[in-house]
Amino acid sequence: MITDKLNQIIAECFKVETGNITRETTAEQVPGWDSISHIRLILQVEKAFNVRFRNQEIGKMKNVGDLVDLISEKTGG
C-alpha cells in the first residue's frame, strides 16, 4: 500500500514508470532526482502520508526502501 502510493508520487515527480522503481532505487539512478528535487519529493510525501520527517532522517535516506520504511514507521503501517 505504502509502496504503491510512494511509487506513484515518485513516478509523477520524475516522469518515470512505476515499474522501474524498486526498494533499491537511488536518486543517482533517476534522471532529474537532484538535491532540491529530492526535498520537493520529501515535502510531497509528507503531505500525501500526513507525516513529518526530521532533518537527520532526511539526511540518512539512501534509497526508496529507506523512505518506505520511514513512512511505515511513522504511519504505523
Partner: protein, 394 residues
C-alpha cells in the same frame, strides 16, 4: 488599541506547532514587507505584539502574522540543535553591553543605521584577530586577494542570491542619463518623505549591489572560467539591509568579514572546512572563551527557499561557530558552508583538470568575534590578561 498615532495589534500564537527562536526571527524580518508601515514587532511568550501606523486593520495584521508563522514554521524542522562540538569556560561574561563603553571611549563612532568607525585598542584587536585568520589561510596555501565594493546584480540573480535573500540587498544605482534628473539631484536640499519617490525616479538601472558577502567577488571573478583545486582568502566589507534588529556590534548593515573560499572536489572542500572549523574551536578554547559548533541555516527570506533550508539542515551543509556575549546570549560568529556544485554550476565555473568541481567558504564576522571577546575579557582591551593578549598577538 491606539498608542499616539500608532496602533498595537496583539496576536496569539497558541496552536501553531514548532515555533522556536529561528521562526520568530524569520517572521520579524518578513513582517515589514507584509504589514504596512510596521513600527516594531516583539514576541512575549505565545503572543506577538505588532506596532504599526494603523494603515492595516487588526484583522488584516492578525491574518498576515498567523499566515506567516504557519508558512515559516513548516519550513523548519523541530530537530534538537545538532551540536558537534562544545566547550564551556567558567569565566563570567560582562553583564552590560561593552559596545556602550567602547562608544563612550571613542573607539567606536556610530555613523548611523548600523555602520561604525573603529579606532584605538579595538581597531588594534580587529587587525590582530584578522592577522590570525590570514595566517591560518596562508598556512593552508590560500592565495590573498583584494576585492571591490559592489557585485553585479546579474551575478547575484544568476547565483540565486536575490531569490533567497531579497530583503538583504542594497542596490546601487547612478543618476540616470538625463540633464533634468541630474539637475533635480543637484538642487535637492532635503530627504523629506515626499522627496523620496522623486529621487528614485531620477535614478538609473541598479546594475550593482553592495556586496553581501566576500565570496561573491571571488566567484564573479571566475565566472565562465576554469579553476583548479585551491583556496583563496580576502577580507572585505559586507553590506546587508536588516529589516529589524540593527543592534550594536551584533547586527550591522556594514560589517567586516574574512573569508576563505575553497574550490575542488567534494572531499577536498569538506576537509578544508573541517580544518578551519577545528582551528576556530581550538583558538577560542585556547583563549578560554566558550564555543559551540552547530548545524545551521542561512537566513532565507520567509519560506521562499523552503527546499534549500531543509536541504541545508538535512545534509549539514552549513555549520556555525557560536560564541556567548554579554548577558549570556549566544551569537553566530563564523560559518562553514559547503555549496556542493550549486554556485559553480550556476556561474559556469569549471574544473581545469577535468575533475568534478564544488565550492565552499568559511567566513568570520569580525565585529561579532570582537563583541564576544570584549564580553569575555571586558572592554578595556589594554588591560586584558597577558595570556589573552599573547594568544591574540596583541
Amino acid at each position: 488599541m491606539p498608542n499616539g498615532n500608532k496602533k498595537v495589534t496583539k496576536v496569539s500564537l497558541r496552536g501553531i506547532e514548532d515555533i522556536h527562536d529561528d521562526v520568530h526571527k524569520s517572521v520579524r524580518e518578513s513582517l515589514p514587507y507584509l504589514v504596512k508601515n510596521l513600527v516594531s514587532a516583539s514576541v512575549d511568550g505565545d503572543e506577538i505584539e505588532v506596532t504599526h501606523q494603523g494603515l492595516s486593520s487588526d484583522d488584516e495584521v492578525t491574518e498576515a502574522v498567523l499566515n506567516l508563522y504557519n508558512r515559516i514554521a513548516s519550513s523548519f524542522r523541530s530537530d534538537e540543535p545538532n551540536v558537534s562540538h562544545s566547550f564551556r569556560s567558567d569565566a563570567p561574561l560582562t553583564k552590560s553591553d561593552p559596545f556602550l563603553w567602547l562608544v563612550d571611549a571613542g573607539q567606536i563612532r556610530p555613523t548611523g543605521n548600523g555602520k561604525f568607525v573603529y579606532s584605538g585598542a579595538l581597531n588594534e584587536l580587529f587587525s590582530a584577530f584578522d592577522e590570525k585568520l590570514r595566517s591560518l589561510a596562508n598556512s593552508m596555501g590560500a592565495v590573498d586577494e583584494r576585492y571591490p565594493t559592489t557585485v553585479r546584480t546579474e551575478t547575484l540573480i544568476d547565483a540565486g542570491y536575490l531569490a533567497s535573500f531579497p530583503h538583504h540587498a542594497y542596490f546601487s544605482a547612478p543618476v540616470q542619463f538625463s540633464e533634468e534628473s541630474l539637475n533635480k539631484v543637484r538642487e535637492r536640499r532635503t530627504l523629506n518623505p515626499e522627496d523620496r519617490a522623486e529621487i528614485v525616479s531620477d535614478l538609473g538601472l541598479p546594475a550593482e549591489v553592495l556586496a553581501p558577502t566576500v565570496c561573491y567577488h571571488c566567484f564573479e571573478a571566475r565566472r565562465n572560467g576554469m579553476v583548479g583545486s585551491g583556496l583563496i582568502t580576502a577580507i572585505n566589507k559586507c553590506h546587508r539591509h536588516e529589516p529589524v534588529d540593527v543592534n550594536g556590534l551584533e547586527r550591522l548593515t556594514t560589517y567586516w568579514m574574512r573569508e576563505i573560499v575553497a574550490f575542488g572536489q567534494g572531499e577536498e572542500i569538506q576537509a578544508a572546512l573541517d580544518r578551519m572549523a577545528q582551528w576556530t574551536i581550538d583558538f577560542f578554547q585556547e583563549l578560554d572563551v566558550s564555543v559551540d559548533l552547530v548545524a545551521a541555516n542561512d537566513p532565507f527570506f520567509a519560506d521562499s527557499s523552503i527546499e534549500k533550508r531543509i536541504f541545508q539542515s538535512a545534509y549539514e551543509l552549513k555549520r556555525e561557530i557560536k560564541l556567548p556575549v554579554f548577558g549570556g546570549k549566544w551569537i553566530a560568529a563564523a560559518s562553514f558552508n559547503h555549496h556542493q556544485a550549486s554556485i559553480v554550476d550556476k556561474l559556469a565555473i569549471s574544473s581545469s583538470n577535468d575533475a568534478s568541481l564544488e565550492s565552499g567558504c568559511a567566513g568570520w564576522g569580525i565585529e561579532r568575534v570582537l563583541l564576544a571577546l570584549v564580553s569575555r575579557f571586558g572592554p578595556e582591551i589594554n588591560s586584558w590578561p597577558s595570556h589573552a593578549r599573547t594568544t591574540l598577538g596583541l
